[in-house]
């Protein structure tokens, strides 16, 4: 039997032994997979996890796009199609926007992250979407990433030049019995602005372990939303680093858990310098026997005066068997800052529900409206023409979720 390690090694050989990939692979084999004894992995069902269960994607598959992918593509100015992280096609043209691939690079920052190391070693390439200096892209850019039954390691880099503006929607689907490990970097040059929404609709059998880092320059603004529906285990780590004064990050992460899913959200807002701002809103709902954890770290460097960092986490419990944990962490090494965090875990608001019922809305409809509303708030970063598509899709997903009122 061919092990995952065997297929990885033959893949590395085929990439003519790229030193960066080999370095990442060696670092991975030295580090090994994490276990639940490791605090940051304690909620992951790693006892069920076996790398040898997965086969490395080869980039030869060409699955038909889902109806939702088609609907999103129809409303985009530029469509970037990936299968298992392999760049398949770029459709449309937008002035000042280019799509290219460069060789996967390993970064020291992933030295202790086994899955990110795997990505650095095994990603087909780094797919780079660049927006040139001063270009304001008015039509949305859609990145469609379809996953087959495979181990996929998509690597994406979005780079906005000085004073550039763009709205990008990333959509992931497919992934039956797959392992999906995306690594993304978002580089925002001075005074640029990126609205980025990631809609994760993988199959509920997939292992999805994603990591993104925003590098936000002077007076630049990253508005990011991550909406997660799929995955047997869905881990989404979203970091932002503030590189110069005036940098801003607004991050909204949300999930809907059902069945026995585990949603594991991690954030790190790293304020290296002062006069930077982060606003983080994490909201999720857990039904059936699903569970979620939100762990958010705000880190403020000594001397980063007048940093403004806010973190809010709300969790809805839709079943007595569902569970949500919220773990805010603050690491503040400067006094002259504004920092706040709040969190809550509970069922749907009884009085809001009554208000809807008092208008003639049935209880199940009232609950669905409220849960859909809970998510609608999170869709603010989506361009309006795409938001309606995602809203409708979320509505259909919600129809399938059983809501048990305590």
């Amino acid at each position: 039997m061919t092990t995952f390690a065997d297929s990885a090694r033959s893949y590395l050989d085929a990439t003519t032994g790229s030193p960066s990939r080999t370095q990442a692979w060696d670092a991975f084999t030295t580090l090994g997979l994490p276990t639940t004894a490791d605090e940051v992995w304690r909620y992951a069902p790693l006892v069920d996890f076996d790398l040898d269960h997965f086969t490395l994607a080869t980039g030869t598959a060409s699955p038909a796009p889902s109806p939702l992918a088609v609907a999103l593509a129809e409303r985009a100015g530029l469509v970037v199609r990936l299968v298992d992280g392999f760049l398949c096609s770029v459709e449309g043209e937008l002035a000042g926007v280019s799509v290219s691939t460069v060789e996967s690079q390993w970064s020291q920052k992933y030295a202790s992250d086994a899955f990110a190391l795997l990505n650095c070693a095994l990603a087909p390439a780094s797919v780079v979407v660049s927006v040139a200096d001063g270009v304001n892209v008015t039509a949305p850019i859609v990145i469609l990433n379809t996953i087959t039954t495979a181990a996929a390691f998509p690597q994406i880099r979005l780079a906005l030049g000085r004073s550039a503006q763009a709205s990008i929607v990333e959509y992931l689907d497919g992934g039956v019995d797959a392992l999906v490990v995306p690594v993304s970097d978002y580089d925002l040059a001075e005074n640029s602005s990126l609205q980025l929404s990631t809609y994760q609709r993988l199959d509920t059998s997939a292992w999805h372990i994603a990591r993104s880092t925003g590098h936000v320059g002077r007076d630049a603004r990253l508005r990011q939303a991550v909406i997660s529906i799929g995955g047997h285990y869905n881990r989404s780590r979203n970091d932002a680093e503030f590189l110069a004064p005036g940098a801003e990050n607004e991050l909204r992460t949300t999930f809907l858990g059902s069945g026995d899913q585990v949603h594991d959200f991690r954030t790190r807002q790293f304020h290296r310098v002062g006069r930077t701002r982060s606003t983080l809103l994490s909201k999720g709902a857990v039904a059936d026997h699903s569970r979620s954890v939100y762990t958010g770290l705000i880190e403020i460097e000594k001397g980063a005066k007048r940093t403004d960092a806010r973190q809010t986490n709300h969790n809805l419990l839709l079943s007595p068997h569902a569970h949500a944990d919220s773990v805010p962490n603050l690491d503040i090494r400067e006094n002259d800052v504004m920092c706040a965090h709040a969190s809550s875990v509970g069922p749907l608001d009884e009085l809001q529900r009554w208000y809807l019922e008092s208008r003639g809305v049935s209880r199940p409809d009232a609950e669905r409206l409220m849960i859909q509303g809970f998510f609608n708030e999170m869709l603010a970063t989506l361009p309006a023409e795409l938001a309606s598509v995602v809203e409708r899709d979320l509505g259909e997903v919600l129809q399938l979720v059983e809501i048990v009122t305590p």
């Binding site: 009884e350 009085l351 809001q352 009554w354 208000y355 809807l356 019922e357 008092s358 208008r359 003639g360 809305v361 049935s362 209880r363 409809d365 009232a366 409206l369 409220m370 859909q372 509303g373 809970f374 998510f375 609608n376 708030e377």
Partner: protein, 239 residues
């Protein structure tokens, strides 16, 4: 013609009896006003009839055309023609008015257009209809928005809890005029709760009820408002 009849209604709030045998009967197309001092049980009446979870009905009956509302869920009460406009309409984040109304049974046909027409009639900026229900709305906007919902749902009876609180004269006028027109347009019965007389400058009551200590203690025509204006609630007080 429809009839709303409330009889012998006893309601507890947090284990304390607030309504102590409340009786009132009205017909569609009429405007009844309930007046009384703070703490007399006016708001309790509205909330109990609409099935608010914090109010326990101990005894009594509330019927529309013979159908006992107290046996029904809040949803079914609304579907039998009851509408409660709250003093502080709740914010429902993420839910748009159009979706609320469609889920409440309003026809989707031209719904947005009809809502915009109704918004114009109560001088509510139409873009408010695009926002989530009552979120970031001023007190006046909320009450005008409640009138839009009322006009789309066309209930047999509209209960209005302290509709004049926090409203400026313009908003109060717009809301009162819309209610008055509703009595003619679809024969809506209006049961308005207030402790200010100024509402009556805009809304012409058929009947006024004075409430004290959880009961109706006097019922009369519009002239009752003038007596209240002159003498206050003191002569009506019972304990």
């Amino acid at each position: 013609m429809s009839v709303l009849s409330i009889s012998g209604l006893r309601v507890d709030v947090a284990g304390k009896e607030v309504l102590k045998g409340f009786d009132l009967t009205m017909s569609s197309g009429e405007v009844h006003v309930i007046m009384g001092p703070n703490g007399s049980g006016k708001s309790t009446l509205a909330h109990a009839i609409a099935g608010h979870p914090g109010y326990q009905v101990r005894e009594g009956s509330v019927r529309i055309d013979g159908v006992e509302l107290l046996d029904l869920s809040p949803t079914e009460r609304a579907r039998h023609g009851l509408f409660l406009a709250l003093q502080h309409p709740m914010e429902v984040p993420g839910v748009r008015p159009v979706d609320l109304l469609a889920a409440a049974g309003a026809s989707r046909v031209d719904l947005m257009a009809r809502m915009r027409d109704e918004a114009r009639r109560v001088e509510l900026r139409p873009d408010v209809l695009e926002r989530f229900v009552n979120v970031d709305l001023s007190g006046g906007e909320r009450k005008r928005a409640e009138m839009v919902q009322l006009a789309i749902l066309r209930p047999k009876f509209a209960l209005l809890d302290e509709i004049d609180s926090g409203l400026d004269v313009d908003a109060l006028g717009a809301v009162a005029r819309r209610l008055q027109e509703a009595t003619l347009e679809w024969d809506c019965g209006v049961l308005a709760i207030t402790h200010f007389r100024r509402l009556l400058h805009e809304l012409t009551p058929t009947t006024i009820h004075v409430v004290s200590a959880g009961r109706v203690v006097a019922t009369g025509g519009p002239e009752l408002a003038e007596i209240l204006e002159r003498d206050g609630y003191e002569p009506f007080r019972i304990e």
